[in-house]
């Protein structure tokens, strides 16, 4: 069947503002949006830019705004969308580098703020730092994040405050704060307690709707809020 794509194009050197360009491709109902974009790029217009790598929803490169909602192009099939033209835009609220490619530098900076690595000042054990299955369960869901930025870009609190840590960084903060092997919870909690931190979350749930890994991000942010109002820093 023929599928029409309306793709937002923007080349900073030439354009003052983004515009939409239409492409018609041949696709099956189970063709992914990423395959359609590849088709367009390879056969119709080699100037179209977008990020992708794995094609299997694990690298997190291909997050974009498809029919008004953020998600992975490689995980969204034509049949998942309403019939009619498919609109593709870059992730909202990030600076556009070109077409569907956005600048994620600041996104990663925030990620670094919460120190996304294990900190433990105790003596180094001979073997691994053992966790019980229950302890692992506390952080299991939060470890499945692929850092695609779909959540942060979908969040109205982030649209309003460029410095808001955002759901993705907060989820990663949870992942270490509630890791029983980590000893730096207090330090990380004070980072997320910032005025651009966890209390900017107004439980809008756009992040949960966007997350391609179906992580209940809001629930993790809520746990951080609870930790902050119940512990003395």
């Amino acid at each position: 069947m023929k599928v029409t794509f309306k793709i937002q194009r923007f080349i900073p050197e030439n354009d003052t503002k983004p515009s939409f360009k239409e492409y018609v491709v041949e696709a099956q109902p189970n063709t992914t949006i990423l395959d359609c974009l590849n088709d367009i790029r390879w056969h119709y217009d080699e100037t179209l830019s977008f990020r992708r790598s794995c094609g299997h929803a694990i690298c997190g490169s291909c997050a974009m705004n498809i029919n008004g909602k953020n998600g992975l192009a490689c995980q969204t099939h034509v049949q998942d969308l309403k019939s009619g033209a498919i609109t593709v835009k870059p992730l909202p609220s990030f600076p556009i580098i070109k077409d569907l490619v956005v600048d994620l530098d600041k996104f990663y900076e925030k990620f670094n703020k919460i120190k996304p690595y294990l900190i433990n000042d105790g003596p180094v054990p001979e073997k691994e730092r053992l966790q019980s299955p229950e302890q692992q369960k506390l952080i299991e869901e939060s470890t499945t994040c692929i850092l695609c930025a779909a959540c942060t870009s979908s969040c109205p609190s982030f649209w309003a405050d460029d410095d808001y840590l955002g759901p993705s960084a907060l989820l990663k903060a949870y992942r270490y704060i509630f890791d029983t092997r980590d000893t730096s919870a207090e330090e990380r909690l004070s980072v997320v307690n910032d005025k651009h931190g966890v209390f900017r979350c107004h439980t809008i749930f756009n992040c949960n709707e966007a997350c391609p890994k179906d992580i209940n991000i809001t629930n993790h942010i809520a746990k951080l809020k609870t930790a902050l109002v119940t512990t003395k820093l």
């Binding site: 309003a160 107004h202 439980t203 809008i204 749930f205 756009n206 809520a222």
Partner: protein
């Protein structure tokens, strides 16, 4: 590219609609409070106050009062939903909780609106 763009066309769903309504009802309550304080401040001048009160007896204001009742109910009960989400693990059931807010809200609204309309005569 400019930052701080509100993506008003971003796909809406239960959670974001609940939030938008919460914000709008909050703004409406602020507006009401300002008007309320203004009305009360007329007490400085009894004759003026009576005039304002007579004006507020117009049917239009009765209708607005009923609207105010709805706005208060939504803001209060959805506020409880937000507390459940933030501190009592309610996020897993946030959509059901929203529909709970709607159902309880309608019941409370009717419970208040019936005597209110009855007293108008």
């Amino acid at each position: 590219m400019k930052k701080n763009v509100y993506e008003l066309k971003y796909r809406y769903h239960t959670g974001s609609v609940a939030w938008v309504l919460h914000r709008l009802s909050g703004l409406a309550l602020i507006l009401y409070l300002v008007l309320h304080i203004w009305v009360i401040s007329n007490l400085n001048n009894p004759a003026g106050f009576n005039k304002v009160m007579a004006f507020l007896n117009e049917p239009l204001f009765k209708l607005l009062e009923l609207g105010l009742w709805g706005v208060i109910i939504y803001h209060a009960i959805n506020g409880l939903r937000v507390i459940l989400v933030d501190f009592f693990g309610g996020s897993k059931n946030q959509k059901k909780l929203f529909w709970g807010v709607v159902v309880v809200g309608i019941v409370v609204f009717i419970a208040g609106a019936v005597p209110f309309i009855g007293n108008l005569k």
